[in-house]
Symmetry: D2
Subunit: 456 residues, 4 copies
């Protein structure tokens, strides 16, 4: 008979064991589980609930189990359900009945919630560091390509010339919001549930603050029912991760399109491209494609946990066991994507000649011509209409705007003068010189601010 | 020919107009759009870009349009696509060509982003107020039912007796996290995009800070491409709303179960119950059911916007128009649910006799008996096993634990003494007297803290 | 006091009425509701449950209500909850007490399920017709562009030359699977729930088959609890719609990319493009972008109904009211997208010169060269390696493969002979001459089969 | 240098290898991959494309690799990306250069699509068998509990008495629709993509029908681009699985509620219940809870693949690699849930005394009383109102309807006579005697039909 089944007449069916076990994936929480148990045991002794000699045995036992696991010498038995039972059973083998005292004033419900929060805190820290690494790559790339001009697009149509660095910094901003979101999530994760018992608190004079301090938690949970049944921190991480992956999917899409033969804006380094089993000439932007594709997985994990939590009465229900795999997967997916994506970006080469040429074609300066008129007092909407006709004329002649004659211009509006021909990509960019605009002066400021933020 | 189509040879197909229009739903942004335009016009004049007399006409025109809309005298023409074009066209009818000057240094891309952020800020404020209202109802209910004992459940099985008020305060905690999340979301929403133009900034010496101050924004956006294509604030609201609805779905589930004949823990007020078309005796907890059911809609809207944003290259794409309906729906759903749910809770009656009886049956004090042994030095796991056997014995005799004889107890462990019979629901509850536990002392403290938080 | 509340002491709160009403959206079911009621009334009389004269009054009353609604003369009162109560109440006003007899042997639960299935059947028919219309446009486009060569892509990299028509027919196949799925869904929708009562059947000798025949249902439901609580047909439609929208999103993505200046493969007709408020030169593929963006909405509606249904005990729960809005929205979105998208496709112009040129550049014939070697006995993997080196050589020389010398070829493999230069886009395409391949012969066959399928 | 990289100057980064590999999960496709390769090789030889002696070596090699894998003697090297490359590389080690000939007229794109369809077909077969097993358990349970009466619920309120067997058969119907959906999905899965090459078909005279026949496919794909990029069959399986899990979640919810102390309708067998780490008296319905919770995971996987597919241009993109893990997980989750859930149901015990008593309390016969009046000519709505008042009266007197006096009845309507007291649960059930109703006669018929369907 397995542990904890003293009131039952038979053991669980073997298929049930397989169906209900979590040891195949929660074994990665072993470190958190052992550290948490040690802190709990120390506190129990400090509060006079169990003896100091008993704690010594328990801690020694737990430490040697940790080593066994680290060294791959520990056999995980699926019959023992989860990491908590596995460690508890092994501890009993090692130190005997005193092992049973570790579970005084504690339930698996508050224990697993504690393990998960420890894991989540580490995950958040790692994600933030990787987001900062991504920001650094973006920033470096922006700084080393400061002069490069690309077309700014709306609707995938060339719209206005911009600086590549300005384009890249848009992703710096997104990553910054991501970081802020994870930091906000951290505040709500950094709360110790241990001491909540199964659901109602524990009937011992324990010192929860001592455990919190020991384990590095900022505070202890305020309501025991909430503490054992709350998974907001997991959902919130997954929501923030979904947004972060969405950001990466947008850049991934651009990388993929930019590396097409038709755009030819970038070349992805061989180390980040893969080949075809049938077409030897291919050089595929697989990392970007996978990053884009894995967005689905992260969204799916978010939807999964939201669905699982819907309509659950308080407090703990076994459904909550489903909080783990999707969360682990999202953490791994986001963090590995950030790492590999940053590596890919770091080594990408821009073809400034092509992007610059593209930025000056297809009437991308039409807005500037409309603004030229507006500055001479023509209401902007009227100016917009005039330039629209100018574009039609140019298209019908197969010319760019700069190739039309002044007469062509003046036929449409008497406000046009010779200086309309001094409008160039460079002048257009330089003119957008207010906070947030693409002008070089604004870019320099933005780069400085970004660098400062990064160094904080 | 519609506005803005000077370069085209024909008008859009009528089905296309119907397909691409947003006026049927974005008309509710009229207030934001007009206020934003007024602030923009004032700034343009302040910066010497258009004349003060021109601004006066524009502002007067806009104000009278606002009145027309408020009074239901404004006809929204689907051919005019969206609220911006509708107002612009009407302004032109009212004040003539000078209307066209309003669109200097502005694009629909930064304009609509500004409208949406103004709307979102209001939505967040309202949601927070309603969450606080919900908290107040929870708190009042807890305070007026301080003595009521209910069974605490895990796995829908009676586990341990707890105070109803303690159970209710779990929802106070959830709502508090919800509030915190919306406040964090507000920080990232409270950023003015106006001045970003179509995507690259604008070629005028505008004063973005003046507009921000005028419209009550905390700061101006740092990157023009990001500003026009960022919808994080909408997604973040929807993610926070999904979590909040999940919380409400849990309480809704409890309300529904508790109002079943079998539980009979509560009676929902007639004003919040509905009837059956065929079964006259029925009194259905429809509000709770709809709140639970509407969780699906809010999750769906989150998934919709995440999907829409996936893989979009910078900057603006028409896909972004899809940001609105789902967002408006989520705001309305969450806010109306909070309002109605609070009203339902406020009037619910608890049947303390039934809940108290339920809390003392089904061996809910077994843990306390195990803890009794543990406190006498029996390792908790061993104590757990002994009490398991005690429960089996009691079941076989068809008795509660308190109905067994001392001999029954002592046959299983010599540590049992007469005082084991002094374990009651009350003593069990009182014993869980650490931070977060259900003991009356802890509850008093928790109520005080909650009340203080609410009054801040 | 509202109808059906005889056992209650007070009316529902006005906010509750607003929260729980469905009349604002289920009023579009008025036709189904009235037709269903007429069939029910006739059957009741046929079975001797109510009098024929009573039925005549009821039918006359219902028909005149239908006219009122059609003529916009009917006032929907939110206090009357839903379309069923609205019509019932109005019928009472018109014909007095006998109206109450209509509700013999019927509950709102089986009534609304019947209305929804009638609506769903119509929706499926319309969707199938529109999918066939889409197929027709694809097929016409393929036939009129039979000679056009485009690059086939994998990973957005040019891979091998193919016929545009072959590419287009891939979407014909997808639409065919969509049609099949909707037809399968129809089988499970075409089941009459009326006669199931509230949940248990009705205590009258009714003739369900008569009603089914009258309303055009293929069969009657086999289990009353299932009949009133089953919403599979709605979910199944939404799942099929999600896949169909996914297909459209793929074609939309291609349309958007192909209409970029860089690709320049297509020009979208002015009637299907829109303009920019600030950039007069822009011609944006808005229909394609919205179709892509609206994919999110359809996915979201699927997720919403799945979430709502999760974990609901039998039989009817008020949560089920949430089945409507998302379903209506998905039906409207899919059907309008199919219609507008087909219109856009019908008028799109391909630039055969550009696509043909693109198809022959970037080593798209490398696979053919490897196959050339394989056909001479070189194991394909080895041939793949040799051609890989050939591509590297060509890139280093800045040449296409056809521009290398025979010596260049023979240095890498002695199997190369002069005839390697006869490999062209045309020969490559013609060579892929097995079922499903891009060769003109296969295309002709595929076109014929498709046309036949469409004409069935 | 890894295989297929002849045109590259360096190998992929090790992090990239880890990020892009699929071998850790697609290794479970080894059987499909080898069987598919053998069929392909045989066909190549039959068509004279490679020699028969070469095929013999290839087949022998592949068979011995299969054995190695089955015996756990095969080392999967993450550097070899996927199962296809792993087997290909090993084959090369075993039989040398001739191994390279296997890849004639085939690409990884059509190869992996073939493997996945073979896997999917097996998965569908298994799911259908398990659904039938579930139906059998439902049916057996219904037959052995034919006399048991339970309350039928709407809104979780007792509504009308029904037969438990009738309630259970609702799930038989749901499972039947599930089976039908999987069978429909099978039709669209049973299509061989091999022979589509990378995207355009292959330049060899291959015989696709021979391969299809060999591998048991009903037909060959009609369009090569579609064949390599279509994942509809995976999505369709996932959608059908989501609906099936939704059904199970409803029954799970009922099991959980029914096993609460308050309901006490069922006892779950010890083999399917688990215990508490802190509360020795607990007997938790974990299997039902996990089944309910795992619904989230299945919904999430559906959302993941839909998201991944959104907006992908033709044909193959690396994003498609993300089709596997979620699919495998859904197949495993649904199938194991069906198996374990069926086991749990098989052993569940109903407490007929409690359910019968519950079914006759709380005015569950009120509808029958209204129908009693309606049958005497009182319009049903009026009858409904009268009985509503009767219920209010009974509640105020603390009595059931049967405990009121005839005078009480007649005070509300003169149509009441002594025979109103002969209305019982039994008579109520027997009266619902139309197709689909709960009457014993209908049940007998329904059981017979269900049994016949199952034996087909």
């Amino acid at each position: 008979m397995k542990p904890l089944r003293s009131r039952f007449e038979k053991d669980t069916d073997s298929k049930v064991q397989k169906y209900t076990e979590s040891i195949s994936y929660d074994q990665q929480l072993y470190r958190e589980d052992i550290i948490g148990s040690i802190a709990h045991a120390r506190m129990l002794s400090q509060c006079g609930i169990i003896g100091w000699d008993e704690v010594e045995k328990i801690v020694e036992g737990l430490n040697s189990i940790r080593e066994e696991i680290q060294n791959g010498e520990f056999t995980f038995d699926p019959a023992l359900e989860d990491i908590h039972m596995s460690i508890e059973t092994r501890l009993f083998e090692k130190i005997g009945e005193v092992a049973g005292k570790l579970h005084t004033a504690r339930s698996r419900n508050d224990q697993v919630a504690t393990d998960m929060r420890m894991y989540a805190k580490d995950a958040i820290f790692e994600t933030i560091v990787l987001l900062q690494g991504f920001q650094k790559v973006i920033l470096d790339l922006a700084e080393t390509n400061k002069e490069v001009i690309i077309p700014g697009y709306t609707h995938m149509q060339r719209a206005q010339p911009i600086l590549l660095a300005h384009h890249l910094l848009a992703y710096f901003e997104m990553a910054q919001r991501d970081i802020d979101r994870f930091q906000d999530c951290l505040k709500r994760t950094d709360v110790l549930p241990l001491g909540s018992g199964a659901l109602a608190g524990v009937p011992y004079r324990i010192d929860r603050n001592m455990v919190a301090k020991d384990l590095g938690f900022a505070e202890t949970s305020a309501n025991s029912l909430d503490a054992v049944s709350d998974r907001d921190f997991i959902i919130e991480y997954q929501a923030a991760a979904s947004i972060a992956m969405m950001h990466l999917s947008r850049l991934a899409e651009e990388m993929i399109i930019w590396s097409s033969a038709e755009f030819g804006f970038i070349e992805i380094d061989d180390a980040y491209a893969t080949s075809s089993s049938i077409m030897p000439q291919k050089k595929n932007p697989d990392v970007a494609e996978l990053a884009r594709g894995k967005t689905g997985r992260v969204y799916g994990n978010l939807m999964a946990i939201l669905t699982t939590m819907k309509g659950l009465p308080l407090a703990y229900n076994r459904d909550l066991q489903e909080d783990k795999e999707g969360f682990f997967d999202t953490v791994n997916t986001l963090n590995s994507t950030l790492e590999v994506f940053s590596g890919m970006l770091e080594t990408v080469k821009f073809n400034a000649e092509r992007t610059g040429k593209a930025a000056s074609e297809n009437y991308t300066l039409a807005t500037d011509v409309a603004d030229y008129l507006a500055k001479k007092g023509v209401p902007f909407r009227e100016a917009h209409g005039i330039v629209g006709k100018l574009v039609v004329l140019a298209i019908s002649k197969g010319k760019e705007l700069t190739e039309l004659s002044l007469t062509d211009y003046q036929n449409l509006s008497p406000h046009f003068e010779e200086d309309v021909f001094s409008i160039t990509s460079q002048s257009s960019i330089a003119d957008r010189n207010t906070h947030g605009g693409t002008a070089p002066k604004q870019l320099e400021r933005a780069l400085k601010i970004a660098r400062r933020k990064l160094n904080e």
